[in-house]
């Protein structure tokens, strides 16, 4: 095998998607370390090869696992020897290797070097034997030492791209394994076979496995990716093995009225997955209401919709839902998740946490309601400063209180900018700002690169540091030019160091409510002088893009914003498109939805590209995006499965059953149990709706039901903080919690309303109507015959009708249908 896979094909060699037709052609051979240093290789040839530290030695350490986390890559090192985790700190690694007295590398007597003796187990090595004496690995390392053991990463050049052949794997029953070949393309025009220096892993071991030599084996039906890493680059190739026989030309005719449907079907065809049928009208209405407005439809709405004969009633309903207040309130809450709003905790440094948090919430809600283009919305956050250019601190302090005065306040949400994101207490440092910015607006997790080379993406620690510097000048608090006026105001207000925080806060908030000037804190851009020195050591550089001169710019965030909205930005549009998609499907095209990285490719890249490009072309119109998704047949598929799509979770061939989000569950309980006259308010009055409730300082202060169902406190940079899985406590809550029982039994609830009418014997048709009502309120559908009969029988068996009704509502709330979106 070792020999056969070393054949290299020119990339001109075309691989058809079916491997069975691919023939192995002999092309010219590329240089490969393994071949050059193998036992059979020509010794003369070898003497001309000089291994490079960056191109060969560090990747070889990576391949051998030396710089892994459990070995010398650990931050403590191992046995006194430390390498940078996953490589890329060449200077430091080289220094470690050549440390005087360490005997790790001996140029005088290469064979005595510990880096040759330890991994061959000639000397005790806790990490065990990594390669054999005189193997190609041994020879490469030895040759590097013999040629001077230089740190010559400067001569390595830049890796332009990593090519993997074949670039797609379609497995069949007959063909179930394939050797990969990895070719590095460097910016000096050279190419090298680096298969032997690359690391491989599969995104799903249950579908495809890959060994450390790059031999891929299909072990299950379905699709997955193999991820290949070498140097800073990461490449992925898709692997497919049809789930059924109905592929390609045998594939049934599936209607694809929208571009989304066409792109989804394109992949399903290859996989032999037949999508589920289109869902019923009642299923559609419930699903779309929950996804678009975070709310259940009310009973009358269900009946009307089901009987509506118009052909385009679903499209009309989607438009109607997108115009309801609950749409912007619910999606506003999600956007506050993404931007990490937790006023009590994260704005805790300012005495104005509450009004600032409220402004943040209302501002986002308003922008969504007005359908402000997404790039404009983000711009309003990203480039915002508190004081307008030329505005004095006193004027600013007076203006701010106009937004908060109790009587007739000036409309904050109408402002173009909302600077409070930068006031977050937990993103004080530029590093934290960089992490939060990447999470919120790029859907990228940079945490790994903060300390070491990202294992699944191209980011190095240096990339991270340079990106973080971009945020150096973004400050919060009191700017130097405001300090004097601020201090003066505080003294005038009689605040001293003996004033307790509570007294001070009380005083300030009173002023704010009265509309009088108060010592508001601000977001501002710091002076460039202070960071000049830093800028020379670590020049600011936008992630994967241009360096920028921090000192020249008035506000460095303007360039960041220009980069975000540029149509070449690889993340910005995709991040939001993917997050919105994930809300509708319970799963992102990239999944987890906030984790775009090279090692985590989209399940359908054509689909993601179509949506993100379309989003940009439509001027970042969020409602366009919602309509595209909600009107597709892909979204409107049933959760009833067939034999081909039963196991599919990543190709959108059916609806996945999803637990309702915390706020939506609690609202749904309150709505379904509300008295009849209050029902319509759930569509119009947002004041007491849980879908608009903001995060509290801790779980103790969170309404019990919201905490149990996993409303996020927004403490971490992760969409996963919102919990969507079932738990025991949730089941106990739905069955027997005091809040649930109180909702059922409340005075202004439906059961109380009915109780007064329960006199005399309940006529059968009345019982039937009650059961219909109960079903419509909770499950947004009518009962079928069997269900109706069974419920009627329960009424007959129960002496106490109020009790029977209570039990029926309890039962419906405890069905799986109630607590899920399906």
């Amino acid at each position: 095998m070792a020999g056969s896979h070393l054949r290299v094909f020119r990339f001109a060699l075309l691989f058809t998607s079916a491997l069975s037709t691919a023939t192995i052609a002999t092309g010219d051979e590329l240089h490969s370390m393994q071949r050059s240093f193998s036992q059979t290789a020509n010794a003369d040839l070898r003497s001309t090869v000089k291994p490079n530290f960056q191109r060969h030695i560090v990747p070889l350490f990576g391949r051998l696992g030396c710089n892994g986390r459990a070995c010398h890559g650990s931050f403590q090192g191992q046995g006194g020897f430390r390498l940078s985790m996953f490589g890329f700190d060449f200077k430091e690694d080289h220094r470690s290797l050549l440390e005087a007295e360490s005997a790790r590398v001996s140029i005088e007597d290469p064979a005595s070097s510990l880096i040759l003796r330890k991994p061959t187990s000639s000397e005790d090595h806790e990490g065990g034997k990594r390669f054999a004496f005189d193997s190609w690995q041994y020879r490469v390392l030895k040759r590097w030492i013999e040629t001077g053991a230089h740190e010559d990463s400067a001569q390595a050049g830049k890796l332009l791209r990593l090519e993997v052949l074949p670039n797609e794997l379609l497995f069949t029953q007959a063909i179930s394994s394939q050797q990969l070949q990895v070719i590095a393309h460097w910016d000096d025009g050279s190419r090298e076979d680096v298969t032997c220096l690359s690391r491989f892993h599969s995104t799903d071991d249950g579908i495809v496995q890959v060994n450390d030599q790059g031999l891929v084996k299909s072990v299950g039906k379905g699709d997955a990716h193999v991820v290949v890493s070498y140097d800073a680059e990461v490449a992925t190739i898709e692997t497919l093995r049809p789930v059924s026989d109905v592929t390609l030309k045998d594939y049934p005719l599936v209607a694809t009225p929208t571009e989304i449907d066409r792109l989804v079907a394109g992949k399903l065809r290859k996989l032999g997955i037949v999508p589920a049928e289109i869902c019923n009208d009642d299923e559609f209405l419930r699903r779309a209401s929950l996804d678009i407005t975070g709310s259940l439809p009310v009973p009358d709405e269900v009946r009307e919709f089901v009987f509506d004969q118009r052909a385009d009633k679903r499209r009309l309903k989607i438009d109607e839902l997108l115009n309801r207040p609950a749409f912007s309130v619910w999606w506003g809450t999600l956007f506050c998740d993404y931007t990490g709003l937790n006023a009590p905790l994260q704005l805790g440094n300012t005495d104005f946490a509450k009004p600032v948090g409220d402004q943040w919430t209302e501002w986002i809600e308003r922008k969504l309601r007005d359908n402000v283009p997404y790039d404009k919305l983000v711009e309003g956050i990203v480039v915002a400063t508190s004081r307008k250019p030329g505005q004095s601190y006193d004027d600013f302090a007076a203006e701010q209180s106009q937004f908060t005065r109790a009587r007739n306040p000036v409309d904050f949400a109408a402002q173009d900018q909302m600077p409070h994101f930068w006031q977050r207490e937990n993103i004080k440092d530029p590093e934290q700002k960089a992490l939060a910015f990447a999470y919120s607006f790029l859907g990228v997790r940079l945490d790994c690169a903060q300390c070491h080379k990202h294992p699944f993406d191209r980011w190095t620690k240096r990339d991270f540091d340079q990106f973080a510097v971009c945020f150096e000048r973004v400050r919060k608090g009191v700017s130097p030019e405001s300090q004097f006026a601020y201090d003066e105001m505080v003294v005038e207000l009689g605040v001293t160091r003996f004033t307790t925080a509570a007294e001070r806060r009380g005083k300030y908030l009173r002023l704010a409510a009265e509309g009088k000037p108060a010592p508001w804190k601000e977001v501002f851009i710091g002076e460039p002088e202070k960071i000049k020195a830093l800028d020379e050591i670590v020049p600011a550089k936008i992630l994967g893009a241009d360096e920028m001169n921090l000192c020249e710019d008035e506000d460095p965030r303007v360039k960041l914003m220009a980069w975000l909205r540029s149509k070449h930005n690889p993340y910005f549009s995709k991040a939001i498109v993917n997050r919105v998609w994930a809300q509708y499907f319970g799963r992102g095209i990239v999944n987890p939805p906030d984790d775009q990285n090279l090692g985590n490719p989209p399940s359908n890249s054509a689909l993601l590209n179509y949506l993100s490009t379309g989003f940009i072309e439509n001027q970042f119109d969020l409602k366009w995006l919602h309509r595209q998704i909600a009107n597709s047949e892909t979204y409107q598929r049933s959760c009833r499965t067939n034999s081909t799509n039963r196991l599919d979770e990543r190709n959108f061939s059916r609806a996945l059953v999803r637990r309702l989000p915390a706020e939506v569950v609690v609202d749904a309980i309150l709505q379904s149990t509300a008295q009849s006259s209050k029902l319509p308010e759930f569509q119009t009055v947002m004041k007491n709706r849980r879908i608009g409730v903001q995060a509290t300082a801790d779980q103790r202060r969170t309404e019990f039901g919201l905490a149990v169902f996993g409303k996020p406190l927004r403490n971490t940079n992760c969409d996963c903080e919102r919990e969507m899985l079932p738990s025991l406590l949730q089941s106990v809550y739905l069955r027997n919690d005091q809040d649930l029982l109180a909702a059922l039994d409340r005075k202004d609830g439906w059961l109380s309303e009915l109780a007064s009418s329960f006199v005399g014997k309940l006529r059968t048709e009345d019982a039937g109507e009650l059961i219909h009502q109960a079903y419509l309120r909770t499950l947004s559908r009518l009962p079928d015959e069997v269900e109706l009969t069974r419920a009627m029988q329960y009424f007959e068996d129960c002496e106490n009708r109020a009790e029977a009704m209570h039990d029926l509502m309890w039962v419906l709330i405890n069905t799986q249908e109630f607590v899920t979106n399906h």
Binding site: N715, L725, S727
Partner: protein, 433 residues
């Protein structure tokens, strides 16, 4: 999908499965795990923990680390009395504890730098300094996961609630909050478990049958949903818990024997600790009791003297005595701690402010050495002395150690990143017998 680093290969999918299947009790995944390589460790010296959180942070200088030679502006108004550990005098308002201190290990000079309550709480509860990248799980959540209980009781209970969060382990491992505190002499009904008026067991069973008959539609449609699978399992367990006489009994302090209940004062602190002892006796693994109001920015001395110290003194000694009488103390680790100490300098409101540079922790039972002092502070009690290097990380590592859980155990977080339980902690060997 991004789990392939390091030796412990857990696929994201596998992790998620563990996440939703396991609850407060034994799940399929736990069964598999217990049957597999990870045996329950023989090294454990404790099966259960009662963690008494003195929320707000008690003043170390006015309690168990008094400094009579401190300058006037720092020295408090309390006197010292001798305790049963020779050379370790304590505050005059802790007489019972003084006479029982030989059953405890007292740790002095635990030091950190998180000066706000939420961050300090999280640090103490997880053994990790808070950081926005990883939400570490707290002690109780880890125990609920690693040492699941098999019956109808929750494994992790907080009285009445707690900020001990499950972190990346997820809500399935959060504490079962009683939300209320028992009142002496009255039956105690706990949220979610007690049955409201009018709900008899026959009615619940009848209702349950109706639910079973009506809740079929999704099951028929979708045979392969992890969400539905989870809902099924948890519903079953929730029903068992609600119907369980044993669970109700465990929570009902009213049924405690006279000889035990008379040990505890008829106040919140006493009754919470009584409930904790009772729960451990019935098999709960981790109980955290939150005793609040230690945040004495105002009137530190008045509050300590009149309320906090007498209640704590009576409560903690009653707890250790009760566990002793129930023959549980050998295998129950008792911890009492705040999240930080308080400023040496007395402020203008006769209060003391937050002081994370030093604090104390009391430990007893569960393999902890008796009559033992570990660590020391400098002569003024401003910080640990030169030979003391104790951090919350070490305390957490030591608690895990007592439970037979390797504090270097590695998890994969929900964002796919590997995380060592307590990476920076060392087990405090001197704590243990």
């Amino acid at each position: 999908m991004r789990q392939r680093i390091g030796p412990r290969k857990i696929s994201r999918r596998a992790f998620v499965r563990v996440g939703y299947l396991t609850g407060l009790g034994l799940s399929l995944a736990d069964h598999l795990r217990l049957m597999g390589t990870e045996q329950l460790p023989a090294s454990a010296t404790a099966d259960s923990v009662i963690f008494v959180h003195l929320a707000g942070g008690p003043s170390h200088l006015d309690t168990l680390d008094m400094k009579p030679e401190a300058p006037a502006e720092e020295k408090g108004e309390f006197q010292r009395i001798d305790s049963r550990i020779i050379g370790v005098p304590v505050c005059e308002h802790l007489p019972k504890l003084a006479s029982m201190l030989d059953r405890f290990t007292l740790l002095r000079g635990i030091s950190h730098s998180a000066g706000a309550h939420p961050q300090a709480d999280e640090y103490l509860f997880t053994g990790n300094r808070p950081n926005p990248s990883v939400a570490f799980p707290s002690l109780g959540s880890v125990l609920a996961k690693e040492r699941p209980v098999t019956d109808e009781l929750p494994g992790f209970v907080s009285i009445p609630s707690s900020e001990m969060s499950p972190g990346f382990l997820g809500m399935a491992y959060s504490s079962y909050k009683t939300t209320a505190i028992p009142v002496a002499g009255k039956p105690f009904e706990v949220r979610g478990l007690s049955l409201a008026d009018g709900f008899t067991i026959p009615r619940i069973n009848r209702r349950e049958r109706l639910l079973r008959d009506l809740d079929t539609r999704l099951r028929k449609a979708e045979a392969n949903s992890s969400v539905l699978e989870g809902l099924d399992k948890f519903a079953e367990k929730a029903n068992a818990m609600i119907l369980s006489e044993r669970a109700r009994k465990a929570f009902d302090t009213h049924r405690e024997s006279e000889s035990i209940s008379k040990l505890f004062a008829a106040n919140d602190a006493g009754q919470s600790l009584l409930l904790a002892a009772r729960l451990v006796e019935h098999g709960v693994r981790f109980v955290t009791v939150t005793l609040g109001a230690w945040d004495t920015h105002l009137d530190n001395f008045k509050n300590l003297k009149n309320q906090l110290l007498p209640q704590f003194d009576a409560g903690i000694t009653a707890l250790v005595q009760a566990l002793h009488d129930k023959r549980l103390i050998e295998r129950t680790l008792v911890i009492a701690t705040g999240e930080f100490g308080r400023t040496p300098k007395i402020n203008s409101n006769a209060g003391r402010d937050h002081w994370p540079r030093t604090m104390w922790t009391l430990a007893a039972g569960g393999g902890v050495r008796s009559g033992n002092l570990v660590g020391a502070t400098d002569s003024k009690g401003h910080g640990p002395d030169d030979s003391t290097h104790l951090k919350p990380d070490d305390l957490a590592a030591s608690i895990y150690h007592a439970l037979g859980i390797d504090h270097r155990l590695e998890y994969i977080t929900r964002s796919g990143r590997p995380a060592i339980l307590v990476a920076e902690g060392k087990v405090i060997r001197e704590m243990f017998a």
